[in-house]
Symmetry: C2
Subunit: 411 residues, 2 copies
Amino acid sequence: MTVNLPLPQKDQLKPVKGFQMGIAQAGIKKANRKDLLVMTLVPGSQVAGVFTLNRFCAAPVQVCREHLAQNGERGEILALVVNTGNANAGTGEQGMKDALATCKALAQDLKLNPEQILPFSTGVILEPLPIEKIINNLPKAVADLDEDHWLDAAQAIMTTDTQPKASSVTVQTSSGPVTMTGICKGAGMIHPNMATMLGFIAMDAGFAPGLLAALTREVADLSFNAITIDGDTSTNDSFIVMATGQATVDIQSVDDENYSLVRKALITLAQQLAKMIVRDGEGATKFITINVGGGKTVQECRLVAEAVAHSPLVKTAFFASDPNLGRILAAIGYAGIADLDVNQVQMWLGDVWVAKDGGRNPDYQEADGQRVMQTSEITVKIDLGRGSAQQTMWTCDLSHEYVSINADYRS
Amino acid sequence: MTVNLPLPQKDQLKPVKGFQMGIAQAGIKKANRKDLLVMTLVPGSQVAGVFTLNRFCAAPVQVCREHLAQNGERGEILALVVNTGNANAGTGEQGMKDALATCKALAQDLKLNPEQILPFSTGVILEPLPIEKIINNLPKAVADLDEDHWLDAAQAIMTTDTQPKASSVTVQTSSGPVTMTGICKGAGMIHPNMATMLGFIAMDAGFAPGLLAALTREVADLSFNAITIDGDTSTNDSFIVMATGQATVDIQSVDDENYSLVRKALITLAQQLAKMIVRDGEGATKFITINVGGGKTVQECRLVAEAVAHSPLVKTAFFASDPNLGRILAAIGYAGIADLDVNQVQMWLGDVWVAKDGGRNPDYQEADGQRVMQTSEITVKIDLGRGSAQQTMWTCDLSHEYVSINADYRS
């Protein structure tokens, strides 16, 4: 059950020079399933990441943060390793040892230092990582390394996702083309058992040290941090951007004429990937865009968008195709803008002007709202009437299927 | 579908001297249904209230706030009027006129000033209040006034509640007994169409002007503000405490020897009523107590309790009787305590110690967690290990029925 989510086609996923992927079946949780992914980068690649703010973050997230701080800008992060089937979260000291042991084993296979490797895990939590299975199968993944394995990589990081998620974008700059390809997984921001949102994007442009970290944070806020299925933040969420520097384009500063072009393409790609997670959201039957404008700050627009996107009442109304618009107004009202003048608030459902100056638009007909509600792609536009800031979020509805998936998962 | 919620019995609901209730059937939304309630107080009664913080608050809430500020401590709020079937919210200027017209009509019937009356509405929003029906039926409600009409009053304020909610407490003080009786409605904190949590408590003790407002806020935070069904805050939520001063007990200050006795009884009664709302929560099959201790501040304990209580993942796990404990840890982790040391966190499910020092308790057996999860009354105890503050919240699970009720309400 996905919402307008086509399967990625292998020939649409462009190789990124200097970036390879190798896959293995390690039998971590189930047999005969791609569950181990190794990715490698040419020396000199810039790597940046954004990680979960959850205080119960998983051991690999802690290791990632450290290795990235040490080596991400020095061009010395040269490999990544991802296992599914086990999140290595809530695993205490042993979890940390296992994450480091994974790095050490892959370092030996690739003749690197363990600090040059970023580890990722996703799957069930509170269970020890089957470290032997991982270590024993790393050589198989390494032997499989190839620039053309994007679709396999997308499949290898899936947990409850019903479809692999991957996309490519190419942008022409004054110094030549830049190719970027990305994969992600999520199926509900969260997987029933605290798996993860994982996102990886590689591009062949070069970046001067220090440029990529700020850009990655900005892109994350506009993409993976702008989607929500159920508001739960996982212990393992990670988003990594890598730049191999193998193209003719080399960006030295944000003032570089090509920076904004590459930035824009990266935002486009990250948003495409992020929206795929919503379209494959647990139980999703509708894809909903919430566009909040007229705010004093982006932050307050975000508060309103999140309040609407998280409201179970709003989400069940979308599921029922019921234009129950008071629920959206109420969510705006409790979003946390203490001095909001509700008489300035306007709200549209698709092209239908529903709430005018804080009350029901006299021209609004319920049949018009009903018509919009019955479509599978719905935009809610809210104008707070107090400034020019704006923020867009994407979410899905709350269905019986969501309850079933999350109630029945382990039984 | 309620969770261990007995029907209130008429003879258990004690009259409060100086406080009368009268009920009418005004046909506001449906015929042959008690939907209009008038309550009167003897002159000199102290009245205090706590109202929704939703910026889209309903017209009657705004009128209540004004009249209460004017007359609540002066002993001149002498009547309240509640209609169900229509929330008079999202109704703009006309809504305000209608709320004031209701006060004016009742003032004429009772020979009071309109400013001596508090109006309340609950029901559908974004629809004009059928003001004629209300005004025409106020005399019937007035003719029905009686100190013994508590059960009828509880029935008259119901919307999607499946049962009336009422309770009485009597406390012995050194100056004689104090009787307090209360009613409330909620059925989900929110009703599908943004009705309301309404709570009214009357007691016969006397209070010096100014004492009751602070006490009412404190009691609300420990009762009606400590419950959640789905995290949505309605446009009409109101909680009113009234003291008629007809008993022999007269409290002059917080240092009065009887103040703490009366305070404690009031908290007990308000918590009884608040828990009834959870037990009748939309789709509820489990009653869940979340007790967070060991915090530096009450506020941070509340953040954690709310994060756990609002998590759809946690709530569906309770519905499924699945001891999926990582979900609770994850909610603790994202609750917003930036410097939380997760290695200090302990968590119990009922009497079973599940998470020890931030990880799985080595002695924990899933069968023990399963045993607790299968009961209908579950306590989650969390120790943050960083202080002595604590906060308790009550909530229910998230079931298929919740989605059905809220998705199907208007179709």
